[in-house]
Symmetry: C2
Subunit: 121 residues, 2 copies
Amino acid sequence: MRRAHHPATEELSLPEVMAALSDPLRIGLVRVLADGAERGWGELWAPVAKSTLSHHLRVLRDAGVTRTRQEGTRCFVTLRRQDLDERFPGLVGALLEAAGAEDVTGGVRLAPGADSTAARR
Amino acid sequence: MRRAHHPATEELSLPEVMAALSDPLRIGLVRVLADGAERGWGELWAPVAKSTLSHHLRVLRDAGVTRTRQEGTRCFVTLRRQDLDERFPGLVGALLEAAGAEDVTGGVRLAPGADSTAARR
DNA sequence: TTCGTTGTTCGTCGAATATCGAATAAGCTA
DNA sequence: TAGCTTATTCGATATTCGACGAACAACGAA
């Protein structure tokens, strides 16, 4: 597992961020992360193969929408809300509001059984 | 030239609108239209073949971002700002602000010589 | 060291996208 | 009617994207 790349705040590209946020599944992931809590990979459930979920998380990470932290063999994902708001004020907020109104989830939800103890400890 | 389809306000899809707004050239078109003025097709210049420009305008139109009005053999394009703001409050504003700050144009600009008299008449 | 767990990466597929030039259709104009 | 202008559509390519299963790498545990 190679160390993931995270673009700096100044490197965020508007078209790239928009593209990352144009997929229902990825919008669903952002919504799940919108409360600011750090979520374990295993907590994030989507109706796709895990390689596909990994792909979508990578697209979000590469665009600078999320940050991935590794802890042993697990990783934890957060929304880079502050960075995004700094570069693109209001964009994420408007997206979340619209996605809430339309109920765009992409089938993403928090895995029922998964624990997020590491994030709380 | 077939009559173009325009989705109703209630039919606008967030992922589709986001996708339409994830291309630099299309962001540039939206910026040029952002003042609310109706622009003639010939006024919209971009560094691509006219068939490609037509394609991008179609993507925006199909997503409900712009409206095309035909007058004889010409057509005029407007931004559906009100419809978009109603469905996705703040989204277009945030996009325009961010695009302005980043100076995303996609190479789009108003054609120097082109007239927009029909729109003013 | 040998497993088991956990994400990532790879190879592949079909669908969608971006691009161009040529052909076309629709409406003016001569 | 015959041409001209204007934008769309078509056909061809090249690229990207989303999806899957399989293989892999990294780490902790037995």
